[in-house]
Amino acid sequence: MPRPHVLGHPHYWQRLAIYIPLCAFALFFLLPIAVVLVNSVRSTQDILATSVIGWPAHVLWSNFAFTWSRFCIAEHCTGIAPYFSNSLVMVVPATIVSTLLGALNGYALALWRFRGDRVVFAIITLGVFLPAQMNLVPWVIVLRELGLFNTIAGLVLIHVVQGMSFTTLFCRNYFVSIPADLIKAARIDGAGFLRIFWRIVLPLSPPILIVTVIWQFTGIWNEFLYGVTFSAGENQPVTAALIALSAHISSEPQYAEQSAAVLMAAGPPLLIYMLGGRYFVRGLTAGAVK
């Protein structure tokens, strides 16, 4: 059947009224990314000669390779590669450990009754609402006492502890939908706390584990405050190193290299989101057993 003439359609103006603002907002939010993308393939001279906003005179891919391995950040001309690897060394164990601890906490809080369980849960969730700045001084003391100041291990510890509130909350809210009878049956079958977790609860958990892994990975990767505060020089994660890089901007702008660096630093979380994004929304709304 041929569609009726669109202009004559009664909903046409309504649609237009919705889509025009939507497109305007999309453009507004995408513009900075577009500028960074374009600048990453221009040369700094080109940018300085014309404008920060402009089309590349000729496409220059070498910015990426240069920024990756030779670019100078705070007098170290190693590119962002070592900082990038610092971030990976920090984010992978921190994500895995905080997710597993959150799952274990959530399991205990959702499916086992013990004295004071509500209080424990309330205290853990309180951590979600505490601003990071509040914890800076306590962490300074803890890291100093443990001898972990300016180490990646120290940052891993911070992110595991700071992330546990979120991961526990996510997992606990997911696990409460596991029927109590399932745990009762396993108890009668002779399984203990850890065996029930490992054999019955974890196999039901992939949707929420994907959510917490994405959440933790992006959160820890993009985290900046702890990175700048507790690490310096060669031990900085990439987000903190990018700041050192922008310190030059006033004296000697290097817009092209900086754009390439920002894009590469944003890569891993984007990759994780593209791989697992559709599970993210699904996992947030899913119940454990249908």
Partner: protein
């Protein structure tokens, strides 16, 4: 031998008493059904027996062994849940072997046991499926299979048929009864369905408000209910209960209803019941004790106004008025009196029950 003994068991949640002084002795090989309306404490009692919940007072012994401080896993019990509680991520075989794995039964032995039980329940073809791929009836079978692989001292069933549709429920009911006859195991079975209780049990414990109202074999519970609650709870349609008065006449004791328009001869009053002469009582008559007369001289007959009839196919339920009260009768299927007419009924007075109107207990 006593397979399960429950002595003075009480359960209290905060200030709420959900079980009071429960006393039950269950012999080995018995099929004991705990029946009662929702909230009567039957499931709580089952969870306490299983060790999944704690008791506030009293003592439980399984196979003579005190259960104080014994974990669920060490009680030598198996349980079937209303929701089946099959492990979703495991196959049927995995569900059945999980318990044996926890108890470190050798693999070869596990396989032999699974094969035997699968054959018994006719689930051999389902062993490699996951619970999500099974129908309700199949899940029910697997849940029973998971219990049967254990060969425990005691089987606990928590409303196992409540999630099945009516037809399947009747089939599975028969199957459970057949299994019990074949295996001779001791079973404690919780249900709110009095027909399940009647058909399955060797003994029924009728519960209400956290107390056992009567613990007896099904015939006794049905014919001689210990009190008005049991009388009204067991049986569908339920027992008719009417206020009446006992009088002595030349031909023996009579129950007089309402304004003396209905008089029913009672069987001889034994013992204490004789003291109830000329006093008000509650008269209990099962609907099947009021039927259409087969012959004119068929025992005690009454005339009553027919309010309504409900033909079910197998029989006709007649709603009639007796001394101003609504009474249900069960008559033959071909008995179809016109509503509003007066019809004649035969009353089987040998099975009348009398209850104390104050304590609601059975008198005679």
């Amino acid at each position: 031998m006593s397979a399960l003994s429950i002595a003075n068991v009480g359960k209290r949640y905060g200030s709420l008493d959900v079980l009071h002084g429960i006393e039950l002795e269950i012999k080995s090989g018995e099929f004991c059904v705990l029946v009662g309306p929702s909230g009567c404490g039957k499931s709580t009692l089952l969870n306490i027996i299983a060790g999944l919940d704690t008791l506030s007072t009293g003592d439980i012994r399984i196979g003579g062994r005190p259960m104080q401080g014994v974990a669920a896993r060490d009680r030598d019990i198996a349980m079937v849940f209303q929701t089946y509680a099959l492990y979703p991520s495991m196959t049927v075989r995995g569900n059945m072997t999980f318990g044996m794995e926890c108890r470190r039964v050798p693999k070869a032995e596990q396989a032999v046991i699974v094969d035997r039980v699968a054959k018994l329940l006719q689930i051999e073809t389902l062993l490699d499926r996951r619970p999500a791929q099974l129908s309700g009836g199949q899940r029910q079978r697997v849940a029973m299979g998971r219990a049967l692989v254990r060969d425990p001292l005691l089987f606990l069933f928590d409303e196992p048929l409540s999630n099945l549709d009516a037809k399947l429920r009747v089939e599975m009911r028969m199957e459970i009864k057949r299994l019990h006859a074949r295996l001779g195991s001791t079973i404690v079975y919780v249900t709110h369905d009095q027909i399940e209780a009647m058909t399955l049990a060797t003994r029924i414990a009728v519960m209400q408000h956290g107390r056992v109202q009567q613990f007896a074999d099904p015939d006794t519970v049905y014919n001689r209910p210990a009190n008005l609650f049991v009388a009204r709870f067991m049986g569908a349609p339920p027992m008719n209960t009417l206020p009446a008065c006992v009088e002595m006449s030349a031909s023996g004791p009579m129950a007089v209803l309402g304004d003396a328009s209905v008089r029913l001869a009672l069987p001889e009053l034994a013992g204490d019941a004789a003291a109830w002469c000329n006093r008000p009582v509650i008269l209990g008559i099962r609907p099947e004790c009021i039927t259409a007369p087969v012959r004119a001289d068929d025992g005690v007959t009454i005339e009553a106004l027919v309010d309504m009839i409900e033909p079910t196919g197998a029989e006709t339920i007649v709603l009639l008025r007796l001394a101003g009260h609504q009474v249900l009768a069960r008559a033959a299927a071909d008995f179809r009196p016109a509503p509003g007419s007066i019809a004649r009924f035969t009353v089987d007075t040998a099975r009348l029950c009398l209850f104390d109107p104050e304590t609601e207990r059975l008198i005679g």
